[in-house]
Symmetry: C2
Subunit: 375 residues, 2 copies
């Protein structure tokens, strides 16, 4: 499934190729998040124009609404949402633990009330696999518990044991189903190096189709986030894809690539767009700021996105202030282009041996202005 | 400016051509409403794909935010919003009377506090002309008072006299400015036949570039709306364009064309889209309705709009229920296509002599379901 094309000499960065049932993905890659069957504010045609190679769907959200039976009735998620490229689905675990109410966790799985109408629901490892297969996912994630940050050692260790028992059951399910999505295991273990190693080694022994690092981007400081990857990656097989879940800022993504990660997803580019914040190589730009009212420049000079091709900062600021949908559409297009184009530059720099240089200059040019980022 | 190309034999319907500084408009025509410098939820490129020939901008809204000076700084409204086709602006009168606070009406004009930050503002006939010229409007509307419905005879008569004095001053301003937008006068007179006639005759004597019928679509029953047009149109010159302001439903538009109207604007297609309601030849369709959850049809079979080309009712319903922006984008595209395509069919039927037939079959096939339309 994963082909390693090149290694960077200055870091652990890798250039790879991931083959799925809906097409080939060049890695490192960013996956726009289509939580409820739509990447917020953009159309499938626009995603294709932006050269998105794969998008993410959230199992929990789709399970709750419109329901798996409805998606199946339409012939699966690809047909339902009119996206014929690859789709990765998460397992639902993260949202069951963050959104659902009245959770009861047992070895069997999780009983909960969904956040929309409070109906009693159940998801366990096998159901998570079945739901993702029914959605028609190309890459399904194992069902896991994602501990909060901070988390004490005992809780993290017990949680990891549960997650590993669930991972075994997901792997067994995969072994028993010929026609199934690729299945990725998820490394947990919170901030503890020995647990991360134990998790990565146990999952590797189970021989998943790929591996993710979970339990990151859950509120921990950036150095803990990097450490979680550094404590996991060395124990994952080189010939399988590695996915860091739910992150991050543009420099964090560059740093994660340097630590051997191939795949990313993050709501940041779409979420902060709705707050009027755009990404640029020099950091974020909050277009609500009055200094942009008469600014005739595009969001970013030289940017090839559809927003920068036609519209000024001043006009987009007006749209955001006036709460016009076109404003957040334009910033969303720009931000997704920024992330996807960043990955393109990362891939090219790994290929031509200049990633070390690119990493240094990108990270030093980029300054995230904390006030510009929505929580 | 206006060329009359054909008259319908069964009604007062006309096929015409209106030449503006930003291009030629084939009439009868529907003008999508871009209140704050954006037709809600759609991009200028999408408007071009929908073959919109002219859009409307709201003077009051743009005057309040971002301000006329800001729009001028960007080289006028066309450049500011990246739309190079014709733009008609209203005079601001309607919003001054419906949105602004603490109005004081004198012969000079209207002092008011704007609805956003309460700043004291003034718009009178000459300022309304100057603002619209500064915005770079192709067709500017005379400044008028639009009386509420119902309105007693004395108020309507006094209001009409004020509107006519203001119309004279708008016409004088136009006569004194060589480089200016086309200026349309607005027939008022509420529900009173003699006032409507007086208004139309007085405006005709002033020789405007075109004429609108105002004070319609302000809450009156449909027969009063038709009557207001019937009481105005006979007294307007045949060789000038006629515009019925702020309406209406698809059958109302067909009926207005039959009564000699050439131009229409209405927020209905964009506004009810945001509520999940789509137009079809058989009437409106509220996609929030549970019966569409598993519906694999497009909004309307055979429709050539971008939404119907790719997406099912079931998916669009899911998007609307999940409050995804793509849902209201798709219905907005469909509804604007529906209105613009309706005008195309009206034009073609006037040309080939079948308008009478078209009118009869369209109106009888169309049933507006009151529950489906947002107030």
């Amino acid at each position: 499934m994963f082909q390693l094309l090149a290694n960077d000499s200055s870091s652990k960065a890798r250039r790879g190729r991931l083959t799925t049932s809906h097409g080939v993905i060049e890695t490192p890659i960013f996956m726009p998040v289509g939580t409820q069957g739509s990447v917020k504010a953009v159309s499938p045609d626009e995603l294709r124009q932006l050269k998105a190679q794969i998008i993410l769907g959230n199992t929990y959200h789709l399970f709750v609404r419109p329901g798996v039976d409805v998606v199946q009735h339409f012939g699966g998620l690809h047909r339902f949402i009119a996206w014929d490229g690859p789709i990765l689905t998460d397992s639902g675990g993260y949202q069951v633990f963050s959104l659902a109410k009245l959770r009861k966790i047992t070895d069997e799985g999780v009983h909960f009330q969904n956040h929309l109408d409070g109906s009693p629901c159940f998801i366990g490892p096998e159901t998570a696999m079945e739901i993702q297969a029914a959605l028609g996912s190309d890459i399904a994630m194992a069902f896991d518990e994602c501990p909060h940050y901070p988390c004490d050692y005992d809780y993290a260790a017990r949680s990891l044991d549960l997650t590993l028992r669930w991972a075994e059951r997901c792997r067994r399910w995969a072994g028993e189903h010929a026609k199934r999505p690729a299945v990725f295991g998820i490394v947990q273990g919170s901030t503890f190096a020995d647990l991360r190693r134990k998790s990565a080694e146990a999952l590797t022994a189970l021989d998943f189709d790929g591996y993710a690092v979970g339990g990151v981007s859950v509120g921990e400081p950036e150095d803990e986030m990097f450490r979680a990857i550094e404590n996991s990656e060395p124990f994952l097989p080189a010939h399988k894809a590695r996915y860091a879940m739910g992150l991050g800022t543009p420099p964090q993504i560059v740093e994660m690539v340097a630590r051997g990660i191939d795949m990313f997803d993050c709501v940041l580019p779409t979420r902060i767009a709705r707050n009027g914040t755009a990404f640029t190589a020099a950091g974020t730009l909050n277009l609500k700021n009055a200094i942009y009212a008469r600014d005739k420049q595009p969001i970013e000079e030289g940017c090839a996105c559809p927003a920068c091709a036609q519209f000024t900062r001043g006009y987009i600021r007006h749209l955001i202030k006036a709460e016009e949908i076109l404003g957040l559409r334009l910033i969303t297009l720009h931000n997704l282009h920024f992330y996807l184009h960043l990955m393109e530059k990362i891939r090219a720099s790994i290929e031509d041996g200049s990633f070390g240089e690119f990493r240094k200059s990108f990270v030093s040019n980029y300054q995230i202005r904390a006030t510009d980022v929505e929580k």
